[in-house]
């Protein structure tokens, strides 16, 4: 049994441990997870590119310049020009805006809706949970792209509809993961205590359950980012996503792949590389977030 003097000593020791600066923490994390750090840098670069696209580029991303059609990569056009004479580097930088806007919007909306539905389903349980989960099963049984294609074919193309089309199939995937965490939280006595105190369902869910499932929520959110970007590019490639003249990577790939893969390969290659790099970076970043937030992996 610890004596009061022992306790005093240990408290004193705790106080004397110097608090590390955030720079040190980042360095430490980067050392432990180098891939995660690289991916975070790539994501940051992408965000900066999107935010400062007007400053970074010299050309108009949508204006046709027929005098410069099919120009190969050069000092004046780093990634060359497309069939309308538009600078491909400029369109890739502006395309990052589209990718990030659609990617973040869809994954935040999808994860958040999934969070609310998943926690709600776990909290209410019983027949509601049973029926609700069967609906989720139906939605999950369709591959992401099939669901997104179905939604676009019903509601039409355009940025808003693409976000909606990507959001819908993400919801059940997040709801399922969050529900499993919420089920265990529901059994913890403080939830019963809150009920006993007569708190409303909304208050119990929002203040006692949701904060405790934030780790799986954030993991799902980051892992959805890459998927959403890829889905947006796929839909645009199929002609069902964002439309010309908006700069979007999938659309650029679609416009160039069929006709110019041989004679002007830079037209499809650079957007293809941009999609690959972005999805790779977001997937690695999502893995790193999962490793950091998952208590089991953290303890290891």
């Amino acid at each position: 049994m610890a004596s009061p003097s022992d306790l005093a000593v240990s408290e004193m020791d705790f106080d004397t441990v110097p608090e590390r600066s955030w720079v040190d923490k980042i360095k430490d994390t980067a050392r432990k997870k180098p891939l995660g750090a690289v991916s975070a840098c790539a994501v940051l670069v992408m965000i900066l590119l999107a935010a400062f696209a007007n400053v970074i580029t010299f050309y108009d991303p949508v204006q046709n310049a027929f005098d410069s059609m099919h120009v190969a990569p050069s000092v004046t056009h780093w990634f060359g020009t497309d069939q309308f004479g538009r600078d491909i580097f400029t369109r890739i930088v502006f395309g990052a805006r589209t990718a990030l806007f659609v990617g973040f919007s869809a994954s935040i909306l999808g994860s958040t809706a999934g969070l609310i539905l998943g926690v709600g389903s776990a909290y209410f349980g019983g027949r509601f949970d049973l029926i609700f989960q069967r609906f989720m099963d139906i939605f999950i049984s369709f591959p992401l792209i099939i669901m997104a294609l179905s939604v676009v074919s019903i509601f039409g193309t355009g940025t808003q509809n693409v976000i909606f089309a990507i959001t819908i199939p993400l919801i059940p995937r997040c709801a399922r993961v969050v529900r499993s965490s919420a089920l265990s939280i529901r059994e913890i006595p403080y939830v019963d205590a809150a009920r006993a105190l007569g708190f409303a369902h909304v208050r119990i869910i929002s203040r006692h359950m949701i904060p405790n499932v934030m780790a799986p929520y954030l993991i799902m959110l980051t892992s959805f980012l890459g998927q959403a970007i890829l889905l947006e590019a796929s839909l645009s490639y199929l002609g069902l996503g964002v439309q010309e003249p908006t700069a979007a990577w999938g659309l650029m790939l679609q416009g160039g792949a069929e006709e110019y893969a041989e004679s002007a390969p830079w037209i499809p290659v650079f957007p293809g590389l941009a999609i690959t790099a972005a999805v790779f970076a977001f997937n690695l970043f999502g893995d790193a977030v999962r490793d950091t937030l998952d208590p089991r992996l953290r303890s290891e």
């Binding site: 059609m69 309308f84 039409g156 193309t157 002609g239 010309e244 003249p245």
Partner: protein, 539 residues
């Protein structure tokens, strides 16, 4: 001695001439045999030519059928050269004030099921096309609005009587969709039987159709054009993706695609195949149009519509777009090489065709200001989800409109919903539309611009009785010079003064094909010259 020398000289000259003559290039004689494989980029909605409008049906199905008359297969570029198919002799001279045409029908024609063809079959066919029973569709009924009656007084004679004389009648007869059906089939099986069954008198007999894969035909030995067809058969392979069609030709899995490829694809194929590839090119009786919705503001204002057309640099666009898309020729409402078409000088007087684009755009901005939009406005361009040439031209016109301060988004729909929006929902601001015809017949082709309660294919939702009046006058006017004068007034009003809807550029057809495909000549339409009876393989 001198005589002998002269004789020797003459003989030598004759031998030399004979030798040179024997080496002179001569057209190779057609060879019999072989199976032609070609790719088709569209699906077959049904087999019935009388109700369909797509090359997806024409390319695989047309070789099974004959027509009354057809575009001369050896001169398909001509808009006035027609020859008999199931009729004999030439196209009959009209009598009774150009209102009666009496055709002589060949007596040596049999349907693929062995039944003899008579004028009664041709009459039954045209009755179905011109005056189908209630509930039976006929897509080209309007093309024959001048026909008063069709009769078959004897098995070898077919008589058309017209309500008024018109130059639009004979070209309408040559439409490639006017498949001659058997009266017995129509009587026995009904008017919808041909949607799923084939029984024609064409150069090839139907063998099989694997939906989504191919259609197969084999030579019809009793074909009425003696010595033809040259091919043993053909296989029309379905390939909706252009990349697949290109690779099929490149890898010799198919010899030809009859619709057309963009210039870049032609160049790539030529580079890869060299002499093994032959390229045929032609102006195309198709144009892409911009159709503002007159029921929506501000497109109900002619000044706004004029501004839209004035902003488009057609002469410049033609130069560059022809390098990336299947469009090229600048033209008005009439197929550019037709005698009724506007000359370049006449065109440059129409809004949107002015030679000075800066002046044109300045006028466009002035009109927008006058209409109450000094800093432009935003709208959505509705377009079809097909790259060539729809999306390319769509992207181009959006850029053209940006230059006068208009902010335009593009709303692209696949073909089915695109047509539904254009024809039924009508919930668009401005749409890309097209005017594609087969036989060049401007008097009928320009019906796209008459009032929407008369033209079934005018989607701008306006009525203009002046245009209707001129349209009728043109069609009833036998004198070509007078027709032409009315056409100029009609064109000026439709494209300029009212700018109801306007033409962007006319299409340009490029058909690269394997050099061993002989006999097929490019026509100004992807619907024409597809009977394949004159095609042969030089292998």
């Amino acid at each position: 001695m001198r005589n002998t020398r002269m004789k020797t000289l003459l003989i030598a000259a004759a031998v030399l001439a004979l030798g040179l003559w024997s080496f002179a290039p001569v057209e190779a004689a057609p060879k019999k045999g072989g199976v032609l494989k070609f790719v088709v980029g569209s699906k077959i909605p049904s087999y019935d030519g009388h109700i369909e409008s797509t090359f997806g049906m024409i390319h695989p199905l047309r070789p099974f059928y004959s027509l009354l008359i057809r575009v001369n297969p050896d001169n398909p570029a001509s808009p006035t050269d027609f020859v008999c198919d199931v009729c004999e002799g030439g196209i009959p001279k009209p009598t009774e004030g150009h209102t009666k045409y009496a055709f002589k029908i060949r007596s040596d024609i049999t349907f693929h099921n062995g039944q003899k063809l008579t004028s009664a079959d041709v009459k039954a066919t045209y009755d179905k096309i011109i005056s189908p029973p209630k509930g039976i569709e006929s897509n080209r009924k309007a093309f024959f609005s001048m026909v008063k009656s069709v009769s078959a007084p004897d098995p070898k004679t077919l008589v058309f009587k017209l309500k008024y004389p018109t130059g639009a009648f004979v070209p309408a007869l040559a439409l490639p969709y006017n498949f001659i059906y058997s009266k017995a089939d129509l009587d026995k099986h009904g008017y919808k039987w041909h949607q799923k069954n084939v029984n024609g008198t064409g150069a090839f007999r139907f063998v099989q159709h694997q939906p989504g894969a191919f259609v197969e035909g084999k030579r019809y030995e009793k074909y009425h054009h003696k010595g033809k067809p040259y091919l043993d058969g053909y296989r029309a392979i379905s390939a909706p993706k252009m990349a697949i069609r290109l690779q099929a030709i490149r890898g010799d899995r198919a010899a030809i695609e009859f619709r057309g490829f963009p210039p870049k694809a032609r160049d790539d194929l030529k580079k890869a195949l060299g002499d093994k590839l032959t390229v045929q090119e032609s102006d195309w009786n198709c144009n892409l149009m911009v159709t503002p919705n007159h029921k929506r503001k501000p497109f109900d204002d002619a000044r706004v519509r004029r501004a839209l057309t004035l902003a488009i640099d057609r002469w410049g666009g033609s130069k560059y777009l022809s390098r990336i898309a299947i469009v090229k020729t600048v033209g008005g409402v009439v197929f550019p090489k037709h005698p009724l078409a506007a000359t370049k000088e006449e065109l440059t007087k129409i809004a949107g065709y002015w030679p000075d684009i800066n002046k044109s755009r300045a006028e466009a901005k002035r009109l927008l200001k006058e209409a109450g939009y000094p800093s432009g406005f935003e709208f959505t361009l509705h377009n079809r989800g097909v790259d060539q040439p729809y999306k390319v031209v769509g992207t181009w016109v959006i850029d053209q409109w940006r230059k006068i301060g208009l902010k335009v988004k593009q709303w692209v729909q696949p073909s089915g919903p695109f047509y539904a929006t254009l024809r039924k929902k009508k919930n668009f601001d401005v749409s890309i539309d097209f005017n594609c015809q087969s036989v060049i017949n401007p008097l009928v082709d320009v019906s796209k611009f008459i009032s929407d309660d008369r033209a079934g294919n005018q989607y701008a939702e306006y009525q203009d009785r002046q245009l209707d009046k001129w349209f009728d006058e043109m069609n009833r006017e036998p004198d070509v010079k007078k027709q032409r004068a009315i056409m100029r007034k009609y064109e000026k009003r439709a494209l300029d003064e009212m700018a109801h809807q306007f033409v962007t550029l006319w299409w340009y057809k490029i058909n690269p094909h394997r050099s061993y495909v002989k006999g097929w000549k490019i026509a100004p339409s992807h619907y024409l010259n597809q009977h394949l009876d004159n095609v042969w393989i030089d292998k």
